[in-house]
């Protein structure tokens, strides 16, 4: 390789490197642009009301939050996710068999949320329930707890 060829080659390499980095950076910028910086979505932690608002027996379904709130006379409060772990349909709680049934692909979850039937890959989530200072119950969807978790009030 003589001088001339060396320069030709170097400039070519610089050019290609510049092009690749320009394309790479632009692509990264586009992906980052498409990723919202702020989500205008309901918060993951929210108050659901006074303990007395919830009856014993069949769970209360909270529509916007997509959770079931259970209240048991001896054991206390618990909150289960109503979002099917398969593909995100909203499961229904049947009082007839105490199980959760998903209408989309037929997954069935036992009373403790574990998968009994169908394509769902894992159990329904249970969320932490705490009592806020004002006495209201608070659910934190970022804190997944074992199905045995209960809050006694």
């Amino acid at each position: 390789m003589n001088r001339r060829e060396f320069f030709k080659f170097s400039w070519g390499a610089v050019g290609i490197a510049a092009l690749c980095s320009a394309v790479g950076i632009s692509l990264a910028a586009v992906v980052r642009f498409l990723m919202p910086s702020v989500f205008y979505e309901p918060p993951q932690t929210f108050k659901i009301g006074e303990p007395g608002d919830f009856p014993f027996g069949p769970p209360t379904f909270l529509v916007d939050e997509k959770i079931f709130v259970f209240r048991d006379r001896d054991k206390g409060f618990a909150a289960a996710s109503a979002v099917c772990t398969h593909l995100g349909c909203t499961v229904a709680h049947f009082s007839s068999d105490q199980k959760f049934h998903c209408p989309c692909h037929g997954s069935v979850f036992a009373a403790d949320g574990s998968v009994q039937h169908g394509p769902a890959p894992r159990a329904l989530d249970w969320f932490e329930v705490t009592q806020a200072r004002d006495g209201q119950l608070r659910v934190d969807k970022d804190k997944v707890v074992p199905p045995t978790y209960r809050l006694m009030v």
Binding site: F39, E41, L87, C89, T90, C102, P103, G106
Partner: protein, 428 residues
């Protein structure tokens, strides 16, 4: 009179159509028509070779563009106005239902026809050298068609839309490593909501149609540059197949020479291009088989166009596109079903989200893309292609069977229910 004549001449600038020169000039002096050759092989125009499925698909796409733009005038892409606007289109806007129906039925028709077109191309071996790459473009067009259907599906913001997209985008999140992020990117959030509707709208009315138009242009250009349509199978045995030459590619029959025009040719544009400009160029024996594109090809295309538009219009007069109740994130309809052409996918997904929703479709697409390169058999004779014919037919039948099961045999809770048994849905 002379002025009118002059104006007309300034527009068309060709000889009268009664002359051969005029017929040729009509084609290559016109930017829209010159994708056609001036002359085509008569046999290639036969309905039973292509069933004009590519054209029908294209014409359906034109219907979708025009009716889609009309619908945009009354549609606002944010909930819950989106749903309100659909109601308005159905009950208030003049001709609203008709336009919406046309858009809907043309969309269904396009999915059907693009699939049938692919089958036609496959069974007639039209993907073989030199058309391999146009098959690949075709597969991309098929995916774009499905993508347009999928994004359009969310726009009415009814229950059907909401849950089909919830399920559909969750399938994507099973993709290894990037799945979750891709879904977030697509939805602009963690669940189907305002941001998702806007993004799907942008994809549906801007991004995907633009890509579709670009790729369609490439597709047509390649049909032409690959030598026009492949010869019908029934013409294969009658004549020996010519050696093929690719423009710009190293030819097996080097060196390229200027092709001598036959004596009675009245046009000679091709002579400026060296070598055989087109594959399977007309040999002297075949010369008598060729006809001018005007009127033979154009009339057939116009008839297909009119038949397509008429059929869609007639359907739109009598069949109404469904609109369910307003999207309700809290209540999943039972059973919740995707649009029919995705029910095969949903059926697979009901067995395993990762295998059925990600792995199987990805393999199917890869297999489709690879067909022209993996199939080393150069023969176009059906008798020589037994294995691949079986494989492709199994692929088609399996897809159809899955769709039929998903559509007719799945009841509440996705339980197997034969269509003749009536189940009351939503019973708890």
């Amino acid at each position: 009179m002379n002025l009118i004549r002059e104006i007309w001449q300034s527009i068309v600038r060709r000889d009268p159509l009664s002359t051969d020169k005029g017929k040729s000039e009509l084609v290559f002096l016109n930017v829209w028509l010159h994708i056609h050759p001036a002359k085509v092989k008569k046999e290639n125009l036969k309905f039973r070779h292509t069933f004009y499925l590519g054209f029908i698909t294209f014409f359906l796409f034109l219907i979708l563009l025009t009716t889609g733009i009309a619908l945009m005038v009354y549609y606002r892409p944010y909930p819950p106005q989106a749903y309100q606007d659909m109601k308005d289109l159905q009950y208030v806007v003049f001709m609203g239902p008709f336009l919406r129906n046309m858009h809907r039925w043309a969309a269904h028709g396009m999915v059907i026809c693009v699939f049938l077109h692919m089958c036609r191309v496959f069974y007639t071996s039209s993907y073989k050298k030199p058309r391999q790459f146009n098959w690949v473009i075709g597969v991309l067009l098929l995916l774009l068609t499905l993508g347009l259907s999928f994004t359009g599906y969310l726009l009415p913001w009814d229950q059907l839309a909401y849950w089909a997209i919830t399920v559909g985008t969750n399938i994507g999140s099973y993709a290894p490593l990037v799945g979750g992020q891709v879904r977030e990117l697509l939805l602009g959030g963690h669940s189907v909501g305002e941001a998702a509707l806007l993004r799907f709208y942008v994809l549906h009315v801007a991004v995907l149609p633009s890509l579709m138009i670009l790729l369609t242009i490439v597709h047509f250009w390649r049909v032409r540059k690959d030598g026009g349509l492949s010869r019908p199978i029934w013409k294969l045995n009658s004549k020996k197949i010519e050696t093929l030459v690719t423009i710009g590619a190293p030819a097996e029959v080097a060196p390229l020479q200027v092709a001598a025009a036959s004596k009675d040719k009245t046009y000679g544009l091709m002579e400026v291009v060296t070598g055989k400009p087109i594959f399977e160029t007309v040999t002297p024996e075949e010369e008598e088989d060729t006809v001018f594109s005007y009127p033979y090809a154009f009339v057939r295309e116009a008839v297909v166009l009119m038949a397509t538009v008429t059929t869609i219009m007639a359907m739109s007069l009598f069949l109404n596109a469904p609109l369910e109740e307003l999207a309700n994130p809290a209540k999943t309809p039972n059973p919740a079903k995707a649009p029919w052409y995705f029910l095969g996918l949903q059926e697979l997904v009901s067995h395993s989200a990762l295998l059925g929703g990600v792995v199987a479709p990805a393999l199917m697409v890869l297999a489709l893309l690879a067909i022209p390169y993996l199939d080393r058999n150069t023969s176009r004779n059906l008798a020589d292609r037994k294995l691949i014919l079986w494989l492709f037919t199994i692929f088609v039948v399996a897809n159809l069977a899955l769709i039929v099961v998903g559509t007719f045999f799945r009841g509440p809770g996705w339980a197997l229910v034969p269509p003749w048994v009536h189940v009351v849905a939503g019973a708890e």
